[in-house]
């Protein structure tokens, strides 16, 4: 089937079985390898993307389900000229990435929080990132990076 959706602000159209995982279509068909596969079971959040502004695990989404929707991957966080977002820059400055596999999902989950709350507390940051596991256990610096983006 043909599936049409908006990916990082750009309309895309792909031919695929509608039951394939959005994660696989992003990585294999569309070359968006910033989205990582961790557990493949909806536990770890490494494959987090935003659909219509809500964070979801792309391993749990059938690609047919994003017809007509807006999908944001980590590639869409920076400006078109490559300038990093404030949040991405904060991750660099705070050393919030170790092995890096959780980083795209962490960025997207934190992005949603910062869109909704300009002054989140540490507890709110922890709750917003509860679905994103860091196998390096580098949570402290990740939380500090997000908190540094409060206005």
């Amino acid at each position: 089937m043909t599936v049409r959706f908006t990916l990082n602000g750009v309309p895309v159209s792909i031919e695929s079985s509608g039951s394939r995982r959005l994660l696989d279509v992003l990585r294999e068909d569309l070359g968006k390898t910033g989205t990582k596969e961790g557990c493949g079971e909806g536990e770890c959040g490494a494959c987090s993307v935003l659909i219509d502004g809500e964070v979801v695990d792309s391993c749990l989404v059938a690609v047919g389900q994003v017809e007509g929707r807006n999908v944001l991957t980590v590639e869409g966080l920076a400006a078109p000229n490559g300038e990093l977002s404030r949040l991405q820059q904060a991750f660099i400055e705070h050393g919030a990435a170790q092995c890096g596999i959780c980083t795209p999902g962490m960025l997207l989950a934190a992005h949603v929080l910062l869109q909704r709350a300009t002054q989140p507390t540490g507890d709110q940051v922890r709750e917003a990132l509860a679905g994103n596991l860091c196998r390096c256990t580098g949570y402290t610096k990740i939380i500090e990076a997000v908190l540094s983006c409060t206005t």
Partner: protein, 266 residues
């Protein structure tokens, strides 16, 4: 799973027609259980088609109707958490929704999926039992206490689609979930309790989410301590990867004692 046919009906009528005419088809909502099992090849028997009900308008929303709170089968837990009506009329359901996974799962998980999957650890299921919820399908209304018929088995016919869940107004239900940690945990014991009418509903302690008959009988006599004692005989816990039967029995009694404000153990 690439050969699983994907069907996207436009509305409820279309969904019911497609579901009845497609053999070996399973409904797909937020995919938090089904997509995992399809990918791992662990869904038996393997479906040949999925019916995407996620975007069907009639299956969305939280509303009051006919003196009940009605929640669309494909409404997300996030939708319940954000619903003023759900907070007012079914706060225990909102409390349960908040304990299910984190944002990623709450944005996709649904009551229709929790019911159809019928896991004994489904966190909303004891809550629905304690509220005396009604499962509305494309053809009938099934009282929740008749819905779970065995381990991951339900009263649904093979081509019967869950449309909504209705919860009576004016009930007071307390909820408590015990897992390994606060976030992202699968329940070791999950409980919902109503004083009047007397309802003690528990998950993860038997092959189905169950109503604790002996405990309810004691509670109906206003004997909270008796209910705490009796509940140990109502449950059928096992040792598994998450916990031991002995732990579950002790925690079930402790949680019921807490929810009923019963006197501490002598």
């Amino acid at each position: 799973m690439h050969d699983v046919t994907y069907l996207r009906p436009t509305d409820l009528k279309d969904a019911v027609r497609l579901y009845r005419s497609t053999p070996e088809c399973r409904p797909l909502a937020g995919g938090t259980d089904l997509m995992v099992m399809l990918h791992a090849g662990t869904f038996r028997p393997a479906p040949r088609a999925v019916l995407d009900v996620w975007s069907i308008p009639e299956l969305k929303g939280v509303r009051r109707t006919q003196g009940m709170l009605e929640i669309g089968a494909a409404e997300s837990y996030t939708g319940m958490i954000r619903s003023r009506d759900a907070h007012e009329h079914a706060p225990a359901l909102v409390a349960a929704a908040r304990t299910i996974g984190a944002a990623q799962i709450q944005n996709r998980g649904t009551l229709g999926g929790n019911l159809a999957n019928a896991s004994p650890a489904g966190d909303t299921l004891p809550v629905l039992l304690a509220y005396d919820a009604v499962v509305v399908t494309d053809r009938r209304a099934i009282p929740i206490d008749q819905f779970f018929t065995g381990y991951r088995r339900t009263a649904l016919q093979p081509d019967e689609l869950i449309v909504a869940v209705r919860i009576p107004l004016g009930r007071h239900v307390a909820f408590r979930k015990v897992g390994t940690r606060a976030a992202q945990a699968i329940s070791k014991v999950v409980m919902a309790v109503s004083r009047s009418p007397a309802r003690v509903a528990i998950g993860s302690v038997a092959e189905v989410p169950l109503r604790a008959a002996r405990a309810e009988a004691a509670l109906a006599r206003n004997d909270a301590a008796g209910a705490v004692g009796a509940v140990a005989d109502d449950i059928r816990p096992i040792n598994d990867v998450r916990s031991t039967a002995a732990y579950r029995r002790a925690v079930t009694q402790n949680v019921l004692r807490e929810l009923l404000h019963a006197p501490p153990r002598p």
